[in-house]
């Protein structure tokens, strides 16, 4: 009886298995797009008469030194930070997976050379590699996305390589070669899907890191140009407001959103790692 109920739950009420953290995260992403237009809020409208207003019904998270609504700015910033994290994660998982797959499938000298390249790649702390690149390109969203992607590429490359390497001599490969399947097809169609387990499980965690990293670069002035809103830049600009005017909500509201987002990504990653781990554990 209990078992039957359990089965019904897994087959029909699939939504019960979607974790709370993923729902909140999607709501947040969706909300960042629609909340400001719906409530007719503008993140850049200044109102000097209402500067440093404390959180109230009129201004949910108060206003900043220029009288701009902090809630509207936090939501507008969510678009920027989530967008950067999304684009950077997508780019790094794509390039990293391809590099790792090639290294693992080729084996021999190519594998060794690529592994050394990954070693060196990771020998410069990520933040500094980013600073170096941004020093040349100047600040901006596209350089920021590429920098965060580049920092994360070797992580995925290593993961995929270590799963690809044992498959290189699998009977499946030999069989495919004997039936004249091209090497590219063997690699991309037959083998690649089997090596993505840890990369996929790691993706949300890395997206969370990317949000924190984007905010970190924004914090030191290398993100979006003012008056556009971005969590890190808001925190950085808000420190002085907090210290001199006691306006704690200006840096802490975007800070709390940043922490919440990173935490949610972390939880989703945790859930996904368990799921993927369960599904594939027996197969390999």
């Amino acid at each position: 009886m209990v078992i039957r109920l359990e089965r019904m739950r897994t087959s029909i009420a699939w939504w019960r298995h979607v974790p709370f953290s993923l729902v909140i995260l999607l709501l947040l992403a969706f909300g960042s797009l629609v909340v400001n237009p719906l409530l007719k809020l503008d993140p850049t409208t200044t109102n000097i008469a209402h500067q440093y207003a404390e959180p109230s019904k009129q201004h949910l998270l108060g206003t900043d030194g220029a009288g701009r609504d902090v809630f509207a700015r936090v939501m507008a910033a969510a678009q920027v930070d989530l967008g950067i994290a999304f684009a950077a994660s997508l780019a790094s998982v794509t390039v990293g997976t391809l590099l790792g797959a090639i290294a693992g499938y080729a084996g021999g000298r190519w594998e060794r050379v690529l592994l050394h390249v990954f070693d060196i790649w990771q020998a410069i702390p990520g933040m500094l590699l980013g600073l170096l690149t941004l020093a040349v390109t100047g600040p901006g969203i596209v350089p920021l996305i590429s920098v965060i992607a580049v920092i994360n590429i070797p992580v995925y490359a290593r993961m995929v390589r270590s799963e690809m390497a044992p498959l290189r001599h699998a009977p499946l490969v030999e069989a495919a070669r004997l039936s004249h399947v091209s090497e590219a097809k063997i690699l991309l169609v037959y083998l690649l899907p089997r090596t993505l387990t840890s990369a996929i499980a790691y993706l949300p965690v890395q997206a969370g890191f990317s949000v924190a990293m984007a905010a970190g670069f924004g914090f030191i002035g290398l993100g979006v140009k003012p008056p556009a809103a971005e969590w890190g830049a808001m925190i950085s600009e808000g420190i002085a407001d907090m210290l001199f005017f006691g306006a704690w909500w200006i840096p802490l509201a975007p800070g709390a959103m940043l922490a919440l987002t990173v935490f949610l990504f972390y939880r989703v990653g945790h859930w996904l790692a368990k799921k993927v781990g369960n599904g594939v554990g027996g197969a390999v």
Binding site: V136, S236, G255
Partner: protein
């Protein structure tokens, strides 16, 4: 540990350093931005850019430039800083101790706390110390470094006025002790200046705790898992049955096994701190290489930025070398394990 293993690590260190240098060179030359423009700063006239191109040899082929770049670096020349007009090496000498002091205190705090709490948590998984360790680790994982810094500042400067204002390394009325090492804690002791020592320590608390919290979780988890696994092992059950005292058991059986992973994590944390200090120095107006690199970027000073990046990459490489070195001394299998698997985590 054999000299061969050390030699192999030194070769590895040199190789990785060379790689980092090469990356820095190519980022500066190959990205689709005119390097002469980058090197002459944002306000340069076309004539100045042309002069810079000639002076830096940017009209030469890339290979020639690369060789002369390597030669320059080997002579310890990192070029002139546009930001300060001085040699980058002199700037780094002036600024590095402030950051190193901060990082050293943070590493000591995090490493010491993680070691003690992990030992307690491994021995009693549901004990008080284990709960404290888990709570601190959770805080460090969930809160990004910038929020931690601002939050600590809010609580300990505005709400509870315990901490000094975030304006550098010393109180405004405290004269700096004569510079010997550049580490204020050390210099004030050497000069017998206890007021300066107290002020420097006071100013170090919040920034170093911020950094320490950001690296504590990984250190704590690695140490706890390792020690807990040792405690569960059959080998240790036998040791216990033989009536070995707890002190000897920890000193000779459990801690040496945790040394390798723990030290490797400590070295990795050092790399994270080098980046984290950029953020923390920005919050606390700390006059170290972290704020230097940010100012250098704002001034379009590529030499300054590459100086910081190169010195950090070198320090990061050395920290891994030292971690391996000490781990091999404590646990002779550490180096060989690496050979067998090709790569350690």
């Amino acid at each position: 540990m054999g000299a061969k293993a050390i030699g192999r690590r030194i070769v590895q260190l040199l190789f990785v350093t060379w790689g980092a240098v090469t990356i820095v060179f190519f980022v500066g030359r190959v990205l689709p931005v005119e390097p002469a423009l980058v090197h002459s700063g944002p306000n340069a006239t076309p004539e100045m850019v042309a002069a810079t191109r000639e002076r830096l040899g940017l009209d030469q082929p890339l290979a020639v430039q690369y060789v002369s770049y390597l030669k320059q670096l080997l002579q310890g020349d990192l070029g002139k800083s546009l930001l300060t007009g001085r040699d980058v090496v002199a700037d780094l000498q002036a600024r590095l101790p402030a950051s190193l002091e901060l990082i050293a205190v943070a590493l000591t705090l995090a490493g010491g706390a993680a070691l003690v709490l992990a030992m307690a948590a491994a021995a009693r998984p549901n004990g008080f110390a284990a709960r404290i360790g888990n709570a601190v680790a959770f805080t460090g994982t969930a809160l990004p470094t910038i929020l931690l810094g601002v939050l600590l500042l809010y609580v300990f400067y505005l709400v509870l006025p315990w901490a000094p204002p975030p304006l550098g390394r010393l109180g405004l009325r405290i004269a700096e002790p004569p510079r010997v090492t550049g580490f204020l804690l050390v210099d004030s002791v050497l000069a017998g200046r206890w007021d300066a020592f107290r002020s420097a320590a006071h100013h170090l608390v919040l920034p170093s705790v911020t950094l320490a919290l950001s690296i504590f979780p990984q250190l704590f988890r690695v140490l706890r898992e390792n020690m807990a696994a040792s405690l569960r092992s059959d080998a240790l059950a036998a040791v216990r049955l033989a009536g070995v005292k707890p002190y000897v058991m920890w000193r000779h059986y459990i801690l040496p096994l945790a040394a390798g992973p723990g030290l490797t994590m400590l070295a990795a944390s050092f790399g994270y701190l080098v980046g984290g200090t950029v953020l923390v120095e920005h919050i606390y107006s700390w006059n170290g290489i972290g704020s230097y690199v940010v100012q250098a970027i704002e001034a379009g000073d590529y030499n300054g930025v590459q100086g910081v990046v190169l010195i950090s990459a070198l320090a990061y490489g050395i920290s891994f070398f030292l971690a391996d070195f000490f781990a091999m001394r404590v646990d002779p299998r550490w180096g060989r394990e690496d050979e067998r698997h090709g790569h350690t985590a």
